[in-house]
């Protein structure tokens, strides 16, 4: 009986270790994760931008659908910018890690403005949608300008 308890204890400890290992993804994976989420954001923002700019006819239903997806993706981005990815190969500038509080504030702003966009899009007032879209993409640009390397090969 006692032996069984020991075995169970060891197993429990092992499980804890495995669990800990699962909780700490490889830095490269975190980079891929955030790049994927950002790609997904861009995927949804592109057609919204085309509608707002009048390149394609404004489809309120589709816009609301895209805005809702963007609002779900936005809060997922920050998770990929874990400090463990500091030295991983990515377009994030080193200064991002020195200004982490500012970066995280920008992430929260992106989240709130994209959620507002989703709710405004649901209401269907085109002028308000345009305005809130402008506010939201400014959040994107702000971080790109500040913390993202320019593509100089």
């Amino acid at each position: 009986m006692k032996r069984n308890c020991n075995v169970a204890g060891v197993l429990c400890m092992l499980l804890v270790f495995v669990g800990a290992a699962e909780g700490a993804p490889k830095p490269d994976d975190a980079v891929h994760y955030r790049q994927g989420i950002l790609m997904g954001l861009g995927w949804n923002i592109g057609p919204m931008g085309a509608m707002v700019q009048g390149k394609v006819p404004f489809d309120k239903e589709r816009f609301a659908f895209l805005a809702a997806r963007a609002a779900q993706l936005a809060p997922m981005v920050a998770e990929g910018f874990d400090v463990t990815t500091k030295d991983a190969k990515s377009e994030a500038l080193p200064k991002l890690w020195n200004n982490l509080p500012d970066f995280q504030k920008r992430m929260r702003d992106l989240t709130s403005s994209s959620q507002k966009l989703a709710s405004v899009a649901g209401e269907g007032d085109e002028a308000a949608i345009r305005r809130q879209f402008g506010v939201t993409v400014k959040m994107c640009k702000g971080c790109h300008d500040e913390y993202r390397a320019k593509h100089e090969d």
Binding site: G42, V52, V137, K138, K150, H151, E152
Partner: protein, 219 residues
């Protein structure tokens, strides 16, 4: 030596210069704001393209002071003009002086590069230059980076230009800004230049420039 008010810069050169100033400022601001304002940034870009195209043509068949053959000079004239900088008196040029002539060519080159790279640029959001579809994302990203870097070159040259104007004003007592605004320079009467407006020729050149830029943009 008596001085006379001589008409040096025709209305087209003056419009070119000051419109360029306004358009560069608006381009800079709209790019900094980004997002939905990029529409106006692109509009400024096309307008600058038309202006530069016009200036190139005007450098061949425009009024005398605007011609490249008048102000693009060899190393001898340039070194003489550099040597002359130390003298505290106006240079009496009917057009750009030999140093300024090369600066004009540098400005035009930088603007052409800026216009050309902007056509293929993207902002990673939803704005794309009109020829973006013709290149891969990778190439577009690279040209966008060149577009950004070249803007810094442009700013550097603008700073040099403004400092030079201030230098001529304070050290050589030469009012180049006034000449670019009103068109007149006060020069010894021995000088003469034919700077007529040539309205018909200017309109035809402007039209040609607009057509060429429209064709490029919609290629």
């Amino acid at each position: 030596m008596s001085h006379e008010k001589i008409y040096v810069w025709d209305i087209w050169i003056r419009c070119f210069h000051w419109l360029l100033v306004v358009l560069i400022l608006v381009s800079w601001w709209t790019a900094r704001e980004g997002g939905l304002l990029m529409k106006y940034h692109m509009f400024c870009g096309y307008s600058i393209g038309i202006l530069v195209m016009f200036r190139l043509f005007w450098g061949f068949w425009g009024s005398q002071s605007a011609k490249f053959s008048e102000f693009v000079k060899g190393p001898k004239a340039v070194s003489r003009a550099i040597f002359d900088l130390k003298n505290r008196q106006p240079g009496h040029y009917l057009t750009h002086n030999p140093i300024g002539g090369w600066v004009v060519l540098m400005f035009l080159s930088l603007l052409i590069a800026q216009f050309a790279t902007g056509l293929f640029a993207n902002d990673d959001l939803f704005n794309e230059g009109p020829l973006y579809a013709n290149v891969s994302k990778r190439v577009s990203d690279w040209l966008t980076a060149v577009h950004h870097a070249n803007f810094n070159n442009l700013v550097a040259l603008i700073v040099v230009h403004v400092l030079a104007i201030l230098f001529y004003r304070t050290w050589k007592r030469e009012d180049l800004t006034g000449a670019m605004l009103g068109g007149y320079k006060y020069l010894p009467t021995i000088n003469a230049i034919n700077s007529s407006h040539r309205f018909f020729r200017a309109f035809a050149t402007l039209l040609l420039s607009i057509v060429i830029i429209c064709v490029i943009v919609n290629f």
